[in-house]
């Protein structure tokens, strides 16, 4: 009898992984059968990516067993994982943009004429064969940077297949694809299934998994909370498994009294990016800013904060027109910007909690050019206490903290400058459920103190759950404005796709 039908292609037993201060995975089991699409579901921080990294050899497990065709194996590193037939396609592709599709597919394993001389013709032929078998129309000689995102993804798939991948993991493969491209991806996945590849599919788009999945496993806080055949489960059941409670208390929204105008933007534009942007933020108000990726949300935030130049428009802070030519100027006017990408833009990971918390305020904390350490320590101690930052001490390197605590340090920076207009860009991305609720409560507190909050988010439930008012961007314009009462997921989505006119404010 074919062993592929009696034992899973890959089985994980009791996988455990700890990072400093967090248990990322706690006794997780997973069976992957040849020819199935296994959907992995879970909130951000539930442990999906850690699990993928263990299978792909990027991270070593602390405990547990990995069985390939029923035989226990050790995965010694990413190359070893590839050799074992365990392939992964990350959300951010690992392709060299200036090389061709074929060169990328065989990177590090180029067919040779002699020692040290690449057989270019054999390479193109072999790469083209793999691409053709995948059923995608890509020329192996085309340079990767000229391919569309969907085509680049297919080059990644081809690369994995050229390594005889038996298990292929895809992390959010549809996040940057158009609907047509998604249909083509699904067709490719079906072909891979027919070839007996076991696929792991991670997506936040719940509706997709009912189209493409065979079975679904839900992770929550690093634990395996259930595996279901797709036909025997429902969306509400999966949500309950993921969140572990009713959705109601996920967003502890409180409404604060709305006061004076805090920030007004008139006719802001930047060529090709932002077009005639107008909006107002009032004290005590949380305004959600929705829109698809690339609609200009982050660009708007950066322009208001002085991080990117603008071609025109006026900005009023507290009713006075201001020139904001640099982040420094924005900070001095009481703005605070919590960037989408903490690691690359929000924090200096090599510096301590204290040094990060005080970075925008060091100048203010200095007398005659000398930093006042006592003042810094006091401010940091206050932030650690009020934000409940879990850190061994103020001198701990920020890079060692968990995502939620890092986000609190970023917020701490702006509390220390006594900002009263906050721009949050994806405030809860990559942090766990518990920390999310804490961040929401902090946003409530800011509003209650009379601060104005602009909250950019890709998660519509978050926008709907936390905002008093909602702006929707589409193609660099404000395409809709809704009160919390009138907004629904459908209305926001329609506006984000550019299918709705602007509602009256």
């Amino acid at each position: 009898m074919n062993p592929a039908l009696t034992v899973p292609a890959l089985a994980l037993r009791g996988i455990r992984k700890e990072f400093p201060g967090v248990v990322a995975l706690d006794g997780v089991d997973l069976d992957l059968w040849a020819g199935e699409v296994h959907v992995l579901l879970g909130e951000n921080g539930a442990g999906k990516s850690t699990l993928m990294k263990i299978i792909s050899g990027a991270v070593a497990r602390d405990a547990g067993e990995v069985l390939l065709d029923g035989v226990p194996i050790e995965i010694r590193g990413p190359r070893h994982a590839q050799a074992l037939g365990l392939g992964i396609i990350y959300q951010e592709f690992n392709l060299i943009p200036h090389l061709t599709a074929g060169e990328n597919i065989f990177l590090g394993r180029e067919p040779r004429l002699l020692a040290g001389v690449i057989d270019q013709r054999a390479l193109v032929r072999a790469a083209q064969k793999i691409l053709d078998e995948l059923g995608v129309a890509i020329d192996a000689r085309s340079v990767v940077s000229r391919l569309s995102v969907a085509q680049q993804q297919m080059v990644e798939v081809a690369k994995a297949l050229s390594l005889n991948a038996r298990v292929l993991m895809m992390d959010e493969p549809t996040s940057a694809l158009t609907e047509q491209e998604i249909r083509e991806l699904f067709a490719t996945i079906a072909r891979l299934k027919a070839r007996g590849v076991a696929l792991v599919y991670i997506s936040h788009r719940m509706e997709e998994l009912f189209v493409i999945g065979d079975r679904v496993t839900v992770l929550r806080d690093g634990r395996h909370v259930g595996t279901r055949p797709i036909g025997e489960t429902t969306m509400p059941e999966l949500v309950r498994l993921m969140v572990g409670r009713d959705l109601k208390d996920q967003f502890p929204k409180q409404t604060a009294p709305v006061g004076d105008e805090a920030l007004r933007v008139e006719g802001l534009r930047r060529h090709g990016v932002l077009h005639d942007i107008n909006f107002t933020l009032r004290r005590g108000e949380v305004v959600g800013l929705a829109g698809l990726m690339g609609s200009g949300r982050t660009e708007l935030a950066r322009a208001v904060f002085g991080a990117d130049p603008v071609d025109g428009g006026r900005i009023f802070v507290g009713g006075h027109e201001r020139q904001i030519g640099s982040p420094r100027a924005a900070i001095d006017l009481g703005l605070g910007f919590l960037t989408e990408d903490r690691k690359h833009q929000g924090l200096v990971l090599g510096l301590s909690v204290q040094e990060n918390t005080c970075l925008p305020s060091v100048g203010a904390f200095s007398r005659f050019g000398v930093m006042q350490v006592a003042q810094e320590s006091a401010a940091t101690a206050a932030r650690i206490a009020e934000l409940r930052i879990k850190t061994p001490g103020p001198h701990q390197r920020v890079g060692t903290l968990s995502g939620g605590n890092q986000q609190k340090v970023v917020l701490g920076k702006w509390l220390t400058t006594e900002a009263d207009v906050f721009i949050f860009d994806e405030p809860t991305r990559g942090i766990d459920v518990g920390a999310k609720v804490e961040i929401y409560q902090l946003i409530n507190q800011l509003a209650a103190r009379g601060a104005a909050v602009l909250m950019i988010s890709s998660e519509l439930p978050e926008i709907l759950g936390m905002s008093d008012r909602i702006l929707v961007m589409h193609a660099g314009r404000i395409a809709g404005e809704f009160t919390a009462a009138e907004a629904t997921q459908e209305k926001l989505l329609a506006a984000a796709l550019g299918r709705a006119g602007r509602h009256a404010a």
Binding site: A307, S326, L351, E355, P360, G393
Partner: protein, 315 residues
Amino acid sequence: MKPREFLAHSGRQFGTLVGLFALCAVLWALTPHFLTVSNLLNVAQQTSINAVIAVGLTFVIISGGIDLSVGSLVAFSGVVTASLLQRTVPVPLALLAGLMTGLACGLVNGLLITFGRLPPFIATLGIMSVARGGSLLYTNGRPVSGFGEDFRWIATGEILRVPVPVVIMIVVYAIAHFVLRRTPFGRYLFAMGGNEEAALLSGVRVRLHKTLVYGVCGLLSALAAVMLTARLNSAQPIAGINYELDAIAATVIGGASLLGGQGSVVGTLIGALIMGVLRNGLNLLGVSSFIQQVVIGAVIILAVLLDTAFKRPKR
């Protein structure tokens, strides 16, 4: 700070210090003359010039940059100072002009990097050649020699029986340590080197402080030029060749990362002393200068190997 935090912060310097002491112990065992007051002062004096340049380079390297032009700036500032002295310009004025020359060249480096958006390696490589050629043109390739006793005092004088160059080194290091640890400028260097985008979005005026750090580095090169000119009683247009490499070596042995965001003044001082002690000890032992180069190269590699071995994160 609690003891554990202190060790976490200073452990790297501690390791380098142990290396320095071990090196001294070995040399003492091999040649008793090594551990005499006069020889140790001699080592400190020989180290002082490299040490002063290395401090400037440490600042630049912490900020995430590199400066290859320091050696040429030593020559250029040196000949400017020397030619003014020869025209009987008062010593303080000539010194000031020399230092300002270094500062100005450093600021040009900084402006090329910030407003010209050149990579630091390229900008300072260019200035390295320009300043070298400028020194040769300015002097017609001939050394400028013969100064008064008051200028020579910078090399030959003593304050409380400590040679003046050593005093200069100690003062420079004390100020640099204070600037790095206790002023916003020092904090910004670490922030820019660790994550430039985050520093910018935290309101750090990145271009201003980056330009300044190259200015500081040029200024310290000029100070080293004055010390060198006084010691040799002559300014050479070909002085300072390979000084940038010695200074980079001291900085790296001292624990700075060429990727930026890491480093310390104390570490660099220990690094410079290790290089100085090694040269001195090998000389005392009568080791040929050819072998010396091999040994020094090996020590640089060993120091960084040990460093990465201890710092390597677990998978």
